[in-house]
Every structure is written in C-alpha cells, then in structure tokens.
C-alpha cells in the first residue's frame, strides 16, 4: 500500500512539475517529458508487466492534465513501455559495459516512439472525425522534438538517482531485474 501511495505521489508531483514548472523555466518553452522518463525508469527496473500499473496511471494522469481524451497517453505509454522492455531485456542485461550508451539510445528511441504513437493516434482519430483527441502533438520532423530528446537525455540521470533513492528508502523494495 505504501508503495502505491509513493507511486501516486511521484506521478502527481511529476505531472504538476511538467505542467507548471518545466514549460515555464526552459528557454524553449518546453521541458523534459518527466512522465515518459518515469516510464523508462520503471520498465527497466521492473519490466513491462511489473510496471503495468504505474505506466497506466502515468498515462491517465497525463491525459487528465493535458486535456487529452483519456486513453491517448495510456495507450502510447503502454506501447512505449512494451518496446523499452523489449530493448532492455535484450541489450541492457547482455551489454553491461555499454549500459550508459544503451540507456541513451533507449531514451532517444522512447521519445521518438512516444511522439510517433501520439501523432499516429491523433491523425487516425482525426481521420475518423474524432477531433477531440486533444491538441496537435509535436510534429515528428520538428526541432521541438530534437530539443525534447536532448532534455530527456539530460534529465534522465537525475530522475534515475532520485527515484532510486526513494525506492530504496521505501519499506517495500521495488523488484530489480536488471541493475
């Protein structure tokens, strides 16, 4: 129970940070996608199934705060989590010496996949006349996406060590598969 409360609080405050702080303090008007970084952390720590609850809850929170139709970010995050678990299982365990490099590639890949999924859902929904899916996501070929990738790579170590510390001090330890 205390683990679930911790997870809920992490998601809640990350969502607020994303909405009210990061979009404000960065020069580009866009900050790192903290919620996506949480997903990456949880998936490489617990695997797809172990982090299923967190991933769904994070997507749901993002749908609520970004005024998107509920389901959009849940689906996107679950797909991204599935892909990350695929990569982490095959490469992170085997190539331990290349961990930082592979993690960077994973973050880049996850950001691209997240954006591609969002754009895909938006355009498919628009095609069927569902224009209420939310606001137009960052276009796939745009400098904004490159900036988001850069910030995500930059911020992941912070998120990683912060969450690692929190989960270590939590009485119910998060199961570790890889690290």
């Amino acid at each position: 129970m205390s683990q679930k409360i911790t997870i809920f609080l992490i998601i809640f405050f990350s969502a607020i940070l994303q909405l009210a702080v990061f979009s404000n303090i960065f020069f580009w008007g866009l900050g790192p996608n903290i919620l996506l970084l949480l997903i990456i952390f949880w998936v490489i720590q617990e695997g797809f199934e172990g982090a299923f609850f967190q991933n769904s809850l994070t997507g749901f929170a993002l749908d609520l705060i970004t005024f998107s139709v509920v389901g959009t970010n849940v689906a996107t995050f679950l797909l991204v989590a599935f892909l990350i678990s695929f990569i982490s299982k095959r490469f992170l365990v085997v190539a331990r010496n290349w961990r930082i490099f592979i993690l960077t590639i994973t973050i880049i890949f996850a950001t691209l996949a997240n954006n591609l999924c969002l754009n895909g859902i938006f355009y498919v929904a628009s095609y069927f006349g569902k224009t209420a899916v939310g606001n137009l996501p960052v276009p796939f070929f745009s400098s904004l996406l490159a900036k988001e990738i850069f910030l995500n790579v930059l911020f992941f170590p912070l998120i990683y060590f912060f969450l690692k510390k929190i989960t270590h001090s939590n009485p119910v330890q998060i199961r570790k598969q890889i690290f």
């Binding site: 900050g31 389901g71 797909l79």
Partner: protein, 269 residues
C-alpha cells in the same frame, strides 16, 4: 502463428490497447471531466505555488542574462520618455475621437468590460503555446467561449473547458484556435488561426481586400462570444494562399504567450 507471441505480456498489451482505443473512439468528450475536475482541484494550490515560483525564477534568470544591456536600455528609455511626453498631449485629442468612434461603432468601452482576473497556473508542456490553465472556473462565472485578454484589451485566447475552480484557455497561437478578425486600417476581413505555437496567420482574406504590412488586426465580433475591437496583433508579411484564391498574412502578436501570468476573462460581450 507461433505460440511464443501469445505471452501474457502481449495479451495484456493488446487488451489495454483495445480498451484505450474504445475510450478514444467511443467515449463522449466530457465523460472523464469529473475526474479531470477533481485532479485539477487537488493540484490547484500546488500549481499556484509552483507556477508562481517558476515565473519568478525565469524572470530572475532573464534579468541576470540581460544586466549588461540595462545601461544602454536606460539611456534609450530616457530619450524615448521625452519623446512620449510630447506625444501624450497629441493623444489626448485622439482619445476623445476614439471615444466618439467607439460609440458610433457600438463597441463596449474597454473600462466597461465585466472582467474576471485570474492567475495562470499551468501551460501546455509541449512548448507549443496551445493552451494555459487559469485559476478561475465555474464558481467565478466563467463559461466556455468567453474571450480572454491581458490588460489594454489585447486578446490572448478563448475559454475552452471550464471546471469548478479552474479553466482551460485555448491561446490564439494554438492549432485549435480560429477567430474572426478585421484589418483596422483597411477593413479587410479574415480568420486568424494558430500555427502550432509558431505565430498567427490571418487567412481567408479575399483578393479584393487590401492588407498592408504594419496594419493592426482586431477582432471583428462576428460569430461567437468575442467582442469587436480587441487587439490581436500587427501584420508582418502578406502572401497569397496556397490555392491563390485568398490572401493571407503573418500576424505578430503583441505579447509572448508563454510568459503570461495574469489574464482577464470578459464575462459580457
């Protein structure tokens, strides 16, 4: 198909995706609004504190970054101040003329707007300047479609969704924004839409209308809850539309949407 593809992981993913697709395609838009409203309500105090602090932090950083330019700016401002003092005398006369013209055009004087002021507590995290969240909602008499301005009658957007204590404002620069406008100098009419946070475009202006660089664009008051005469921006560039049937103009807004902290909702038209 090999059985290895039907793992519990894949099955879980497929079921979740199907449920999400169902929610996206069949769910009425407002179904989750109570949950969204609840989330916004509990996050409101945190958002207020965080947004205010980050604004102050951002301003401090901008100030520190521009400290070397302040001396030069000071000299320029002193010069400009003298110039403006002289212009004020002339503007007093224009003010009277403006009052008479507004009466003739049946416009509501700006000081007669029934305004509800509020603080911005969040904005689009994607950096596209599509929307902001205001700390005023249903309880303060805010309704969807109302115009949102900053001081001096500069239009910034329209209320989109309203919750008990907060509301979502679609900014003019957002991809969903469409506002009827007119050219103050030439009377050319058109529609201003957002260009994915990259600026504003005045579109659907007929070829017979005249658009000049530097013209002031204001709301036309047609179709909707937006009053006539609210300032949108200035024309920066004029070009033909892709199909050559219309003209379009790049409009530069008078304010930076990502730096908004206080805005006003016009409660009467």
């Amino acid at each position: 198909m090999p059985q290895k593809y039907f793992t519990s992981k894949t099955v879980k993913l497929v079921i979740a995706i199907v449920i999400c697709a169902g929610l996206i395609f069949f769910n009425p838009k407002g179904f989750f609004n109570p949950a969204r409203g609840f989330f916004l309500r509990i996050s409101l105090p945190f958002q207020k504190v965080f947004y205010g602090s980050s604004q102050r932090f951002s301003e401090t950083v901008s100030f520190l970054a521009s400290i070397s330019e302040i001396k030069k700016d000071n000299a320029d401002l002193s010069r400009e101040n003298n110039l403006l003092s002289a212009q004020i005398a002339g503007l007093r006369q224009v003010e009277n003329e403006n009052k008479i013209l507004r009466e003739q055009l049946d416009l509501l004087p700006r000081d007669k707007f029934l305004l509800a002021g509020g603080f911005v507590i969040g904005q689009d995290p994607q950096g596209s300047e599509s929307w902001i969240i205001l700390d005023k909602g249903e309880r303060d008499g805010i309704l969807p479609g109302m115009a949102v301005i900053v001081a001096n009658g500069i239009l910034v957007g329209k209320v989109d969704e309203v919750y008990a204590t907060s509301s979502k404002i679609n900014l003019l620069s957002g991809s969903n924004s469409l506002i009827n406008v007119t050219d103050l100098e030439t009377g050319a009419k058109g529609i201003v839409r957002g260009e994915y946070g990259l600026g504003l475009v005045m579109d659907m202006v007929t070829q017979s209308d005249v658009l000049n660089i530097g013209d002031t664009i204001i709301t036309s008051g047609l179709g909707g809850n937006i009053s006539r005469g609210l300032l949108v921006g200035k024309v920066k560039e004029v070009k033909a539309s892709e199909d050559r049937l219309f003209q379009k103009a790049v409009v530069v807004p008078r304010i930076k949407y990502s730096k908004l902290d206080v805005v006003f909702v016009i409660k009467n038209k």
